[in-house]
Amino acid sequence: MSGEAKLIIQDLCHHYPDEYTGQSVHALEGINLQVYENEFVAIVGPSGCGKTTLLNIVAGLLPYREGRAMVDGVEIRGPGPDRGVVFQEHAILPWRTVARNIGHGLELQRVPKEETRRRVQEYIDLVGLTGFENRYPHELSGGMKQRVAVARTLCADPVIMLMDEPFAAVDAQTRITLQDELNRIVMATHKTILFITHSVEEAAFLGDRCIVFSRRPGRIKTEIKIDIPREQRVWKEMGTNPKFTEARDQILHLVRQEVTSDDEH
């Protein structure tokens, strides 16, 4: 990979203490991972293997003790605007309009009003919500809410964008549209993205690189490079793209190895 590493994770382990039983849950073990500038890294793995744990640590929402995690060379200590997060359940604020949700990050950074308005409009247009600026979230569909969440994160201009199964809660048709759109957005903004998903197809469709996790305690099992130019990544044409089908089948095979029937949950 060219460019510099934006996110560096070294020998990261995590144990959740369990206050009731006194035992702890071993969620992550010896994670080493680098995400480079403009790179889209997808993480797949069986349920409960520690994907969300990893993302929360990088987001600064979960303190860690073993190993290191750095963004732009700075050790992660708590949340910050350099790491934007798109959660599965959109988590946009119901009391803010679309425009004010998207501009929230800039507002918090005290960016001047005029510039905020300009940038907010830019991202509203980018995610296709033109005309909905003054609507409240309860007036939007699930897919539109998730677009607001993506635009909100992009607008704050983070060094790296973290996405935890962002499209898992929308219907299949909307999901395909959103995936196509995310591709277009990545091409337009050149963002660095760490993307977690359950869907092997989604990982193969979106990722420059796909990291496959083992069962808990989560370790990196393998990584697969998916060398398809962004311009070619359109769902209409993917079904017949041999590189895509090959990567998808390979990832699927690896994930299947991890999910055995006796501890599937």
């Binding site: 910050g80 605007p81 988590a91 009391w95 990050g105």
Partner: protein, 271 residues
């Protein structure tokens, strides 16, 4: 326009008037007064003693208006309500917020708060009278005390009910703790703040009336009380009607618009 069209438009306007906002309120009030007049005129044996007619209540109010006592009673009572209630609510919101933010502090103060919440405003009345005499201060303290608890407990639970995801989202956008309070916790607690305010003002209203009666301070409560001593039922009913109408007006023009502009607009509650 044909006459049928005209008729339909007229009927439509009438229906709109009857089912919305002020129109609905007026129809309800007029209907109640008519019903009251009928009961008083045909069902009650000695209406002047047991249920004076609307007309005699109006005459009594005209009399008191003329003497100047009605408006001064009314403004005394309203001042106590709004002042005591507002201070109670303005203290209650930050206290509830602080308790909602910090579990340790909340656990410490919760039993104490629970204790005093159960001791109603009327129950503390005698001790306040011993401290401050039969004064306006006494009435105000009881009103303030009474309005403090509903808002405080509601803000406390409202803050706790704000989804953690909203807080996390704001933090990852770069919000400081103070900004989280301003942008997430306060608006997120708005449904509970609205419920708490309604309860607080409602309780404060009762406390004012009861407080005036017990402390003998001039006002609506006292006017009702002395109506009984003077055997003046019209005066009693006049006081009751004014209390009720004041509440309806407060609710309609202060509390409801507040809710409509916030929690309803945001889709946090359905109407």
């Amino acid at each position: 326009m044909t006459s049928i069209d005209l008729q339909q438009t007229r009927r439509f306007r009438w229906k709109k008037f009857a089912t919305e906002g002020a129109g609905r309120l007026i129809i309800f009030l007029v209907g109640s007064v008519i019903l009251w007049a009928l009961i008083s005129a045909f069902l009650i044996e000695r209406p002047d003693r047991y249920l004076p007619s609307p007309l005699s209540v109006v005459l009594s109010s005209a009399d008191m208006l003329y003497k100047g006592s009605l408006l001064s009673f009314y403004s005394d009572t309203l001042t106590r309500l709004l002042f005591g209630g507002a201070v109670g609510i303005l203290i209650g919101i930050p206290v509830g917020l602080a308790l909602g933010l910090n579990r340790t502090v909340a656990d410490m103060f919760y039993p104490l708060m629970n204790f005093f919440q159960s001791v109603s405003g009327i129950a503390i009345f005698p001790i306040i009278v011993i401290w401050f005499g039969n004064s306006d201060t006494t009435v105000l303290i009881v009103v303030l005390y009474t309005s403090f608890f509903p808002i405080t407990f509601n803000v406390l639970s409202g803050v706790r009910a704000v989804p953690v995801r909203y807080i996390q989202a704001a933090r990852t956008l770069g919000a400081s703790r103070l900004q989280v309070v301003r942008d997430v916790l306060l608006p997120g607690a708005m449904p509970s703040i609205a419920v708490g305010t309604r309860l607080s003002v409602g309780f404060a209203w009762r406390a004012v009336i009861a407080g005036e009666m017990l402390a003998g301070r001039p006002g609506l409560g006292n006017m009702i009380f002395s109506g009984q001593e003077l055997d003046n039922s019209a005066q009693i009913i006049l006081g009751m009607v004014m209390i009720g109408i004041t509440w309806i007006v407060l609710d309609h023009y202060l509390l409801r618009p507040l809710e409509a502009d916030t929690i309803e607009r945001w889709g946090l509650v359905q109407r």
